[in-house]
Subunit: 366 residues, 4 copies
């Protein structure tokens, strides 16, 4: 109220924000009512992308370095969960854009020229910072994803290719986990033994089912054998390295085992938040999968399979990115190799104390 | 592709949009990570408010005049439904802001000074355009809602006080409805008779329940009597005028009866979309009620009941506006006076044809 | 209050409902806390399936016959929209089930034996009643979808294969549409001419762009040519029949043209609700697509790619059904062949009156 | 696998579940299509209530006793978060019920007699187990909430009045917190000093604003004074006891201070999950507040203000319960008395180690 008083409008730059909607259909003298919605929806997306980048960047920073302060893990989970909350909005928001019918879209689409959602450079940066590698991208119309960008935007996207990604930061943090060989407890060996024991038990149970027709027995025995091979490969260092070298895995063997350890002993106090962390990263991946999939469907609804010269349509292209652009697939796939809690190797008592709080440790030690 | 090519970033003014987040905590040399979220959330709100105003204004225009083109009603419903879709996002979005904890808010709150959500002039305009009357507003700290505004913003808000509101446009449209006395069918009289018949039947049913204790009988008879008085008042022109003059009703008697007619005969072809229209207006009102209520709760969570010098807290103020700021209360209240379909007065055949499509009318006439 | 008084608990059979959760893990003496969630979530799904079948069946009935009462179309839209509201819940509900971690699932999964979500016979009936044809189903482990069912359930599913489906009822209704050749207005011819005119204009515009490099010109001319071929095929009776005979289209030529007519002239009063009807059917299809896709992801999260003897995993199977099990694809694809409103053939005045309400028709005639 | 094989339908008792919908309108020979929705929606609610009770009961059990295993806190948070996920569905589900119009409700409402949502005994138990005290309930029509119940249901509700509630279990757990006086750090004193220091600083800042008009100065000084009184009362044992004795507070002084401690030092490793726990309890409270509020609005939409004999209407009654039935108000109100992190008393180093993990403590100690 006095001179430099900050008011809501000035602080939030409301006048500026709401003056940035210029309808191209109006400039062509054929104002299309619906174009405002199109612009606003996309601008809102860009604001959310900025916020997601703000959160993601800050979490990467927390994990980027030799030492991660335990106090930060809770905060990192909170920020990653904030990203998932925003992603829910991104998905919900598609419903708003879908209130535009294909016919309405045609009212101004011709004026858009080459403008296309593929060009959101913030989203490209976001993908890079999560950990999507340039070589994993699917080219659209034989073009690099960088080709539609220029100037400062191109620079920023290229820069993000070289920054530490969330994937890399987490991978490094997992590799540093000290728990895999604490207290003479060899986790990988113990887990391998437990898995085999479980499969052996399933085999003998099958043997003793005398009423079961032979065909069914064979069928089920094959399933057990296939499972055994799967576990053996999953828990084998050399095989893992091979899969990494052919691009079928991305996380190193050690990091994968650390993630498995956190998954199966997640109830131990020191692992509860790390588990939430891994879970939330998978959730972020999944949410973008959902968003991409919904986005592809919406593009289809708007444009059908309209294409250019023998190219695949926008819809078909988008569909292909849905699963391909996941980043934390290795974390996601761990569930294939979980074994029931009742079969898990038991942690030695001294390791359990290591995984507990100082306070309760001293108390229980007194 | 050529020089002036429109690309996504230029079209949507992305660079401009994402450069409008200036953290006041940074300016004070104490950057608060969370402030970005606060700014982005509010800027997104303002973008949606602009879009809602765009839709609402266009619908008011359709209805503002002597003649409403029937072709427009479907489009009006669509645009109003678009508003409800956006409102769902506004409510969902609160969940994102709630990922900020009270403690985090305190990290930058002191720098905000007098800046407050009460000052969104777009939202004030929105309330006015819906039909909230200045005299119905609850003063905060004894101040007019205009006092916190100045310059062009103040001007725009004041201007909106004088523009035709959605309420007024719909009220006028309802008053013009020709159906209340078409074909010698006097709707109000017929409805009054049907309501009385229904209540008479309830009374006799009660009389014949010989097992019912006298106290229960008295109780239920009182309920029927109270209902009868309610119907009599609702369907009486003079009583309605009295309620209008004391501010208990806002819609005129004729408009109210037209809305009742549309509600009860909504299956007739010509009334199906008008019914959707009324329903959607009530839904918009309800959604803002939900939003205000959620917003009040969030303010409480952030600030508790912090107050200034004997004033009511922001929370208590916001709570009071929740129900008070409804606009289409009279439409909402119609449900009190609906009677079961089996008891409704039957429409005369010729009126039914009037309410049908030309095509089927001619076909059935041939 | 008196003897046979209906109270909430009796009416809703609450005691019965909440006594139907029998934890198989408890029966095995190893109670798994999480199993309750699993049972409740699936029972809730079954209740919603029953409700969806109730709505869907009633709408099919409205459309199954020679004559559809216009008064019913609004109600049909309402019921179909109710289905979409329930589908939103079905999707949201996955989030609740996802609060179960893979490790928790393993606590009781082994006791489930062959029990699997593939066996919901209500959902199979639902698919059939929507219009999924048995021959379109993807066999799982070389087995018919009927193989896992028996007794009364099998009978009901088989019966539903022979009942009129929503697809068939709508297809027949579209074919009966009288508007395609009313008043000497030949819609298909007019639309073909309009499409060609639009493409001609695009071609000449391209010719006159003297600055455009030849390669870009060729590229764009090819796109126009491809589009022209597409339109020609879409609007050609013989080509359509061919596509129907090879299974690439399901809706007849006449029904497709009727759907196109409704799409492009949806603002005409008599077409507003039919347009909502078609739109809602596509939405139902899309919502099940979303649900299947989310469901597949959740199965992956729970089970990873666990498989039986060389079979594809449940996840891979479910993924394949996502797009394949759409029913109203032909309606969904119409957007590929929409042309801007400014280029649409204009309706003759007398046809416009035919498409209007009786009331306004007589009024404007007076 | 053998004969008695468990299949999906048998396991989930699907046939039983979907045979429990008996339309009372059908029994009266006037089948109302919409009644199915009404029954299904309420039965789904009851299934969710059962699941919520299952989760809530298990968490109370974890906290009910002298010693809470730290390993359980993460699991408790997970289960309480599951409840919030279900609550989101409960709220969303109202949208489905709202697709029933008031007129449709009237098609079968008369057959319901006295059946009313007030009678869900599971929900009454849920309220009791959360910690709503019988004496805090608002009587409806001068009747105890127990009066509408009988038999086993009445018994169960009464029993739940005497079981340990979530509120009591958490209150006791907070009271046992050892951290308030560890290592000679007197938290309450330190916090009081910090609050005063903050308010002193605000006062001097105000003094030095020479340009500010006297009226504004007085206004702001009064606000600071009021705040100071608030803090003094909040941090004073005797005053707190007084507020407890008059029913204005429910949580004891010690428990309140423990909750404050957890709130302000929530980044310390050992406090991260306890903080999530308190936050989730407040969220559960808030979600039921939202649900009650939405439910009241829906009842209004359906029935308007229909009343019996001078009683308040169902709507007015429900509205009153919305805020009154909160349980964790004292936790919710803590935000009123938070001070910025920059002003918080610093924890002594040895206490910080106490609040850390054993592993990092030993590591940092080496």
């Amino acid at each position: 109220m006095s001179d430099g008083a900050l008011d809501y409008g000035n602080y939030l730059k409301v006048d500026e924000i709401i003056s940035l909607q210029e309808l191209v259909s109006e400039q062509h003298g054929k104002p299309a009512h619906i174009e405002m919605l199109y612009i606003v929806v996309h601008q809102v997306y860009e604001l959310w992308f900025k916020e997601i980048l703000h959160e993601l960047g800050s979490v990467i920073e927390m994990f980027d370095g030799e030492y991660v302060n335990e106090k930060n893990i809770g905060e990192a989970v909170k920020r990653l969960k904030r990203i998932t909350a925003i992603q829910s909005l991104l998905v919900e928001q598609i419903k708003v854009l879908e209130t535009m019918t294909p016919l309405e879209f045609l009212d101004f689409r011709k004026y858009l020229g080459t403008a296309s959602g593929f060009q959101s450079y913030q989203f490209r940066i976001l993908e890079n910072r999560l950990g999507l590698k340039p070589e994993e991208r699917i080219p659209y119309a034989q073009k690099s994803y960088l080709q539609e960008l220029s100037g400062k935007r191109l620079e920023l996207v290229k820069e993000s290719e070289n920054q530490t990604s969330m994937f890399e930061a987490i991978a490094a943090w997992l590799e540093r986990t000290p728990f895999l060989e604490l207290s003479n407890f060899k986790f990988v060996e113990a887990y391998r033994a437990a898995a085999n024991q479980m499969l052996d038990a399933e085999s003998s149970a099958l043997d003793s089912m005398h009423d079961l027709p032979q065909s069914a027995k064979t069928f089920q025995q094959e399933a057990i054998d296939s499972s055994r091979k799967g576990f053996a490969a999953f828990l084998d260092f050399a095989e893992h390295e091979r899969l990494v070298s052919t691009g079928q895995r991305r996380l190193s063997f050690k990091a994968t085992m650390a993630a498995l350890f956190i998954n199966v002993y997640r109830d131990e106090p020191i692992l509860q938040l790390p588990f939430q962390l891994l879970e939330t990263l998978v959730e972020i991946d999944e949410n973008f999968t959902i968003w991409r999939s919904r986005h592809a469907v919406m593009v289809h609804r708007m444009l059908g399979r309209k294409v250019g010269t023998g190219q695949s349509s926008g819809y078909d292209y988008l569909k292909r990115t849905v699963d391909k652009y996941r980043v934390f697939t290795d974390l996601f796939n761990i569930s294939t190799f979980l074994i029931p809690r009742s079969e898990l190797p038991r942690l030695p008592e001294d390791l359990k104390i290591e995984l507990g709080f100082h306070y309760s440790a001293t108390k229980s030690g007194s």
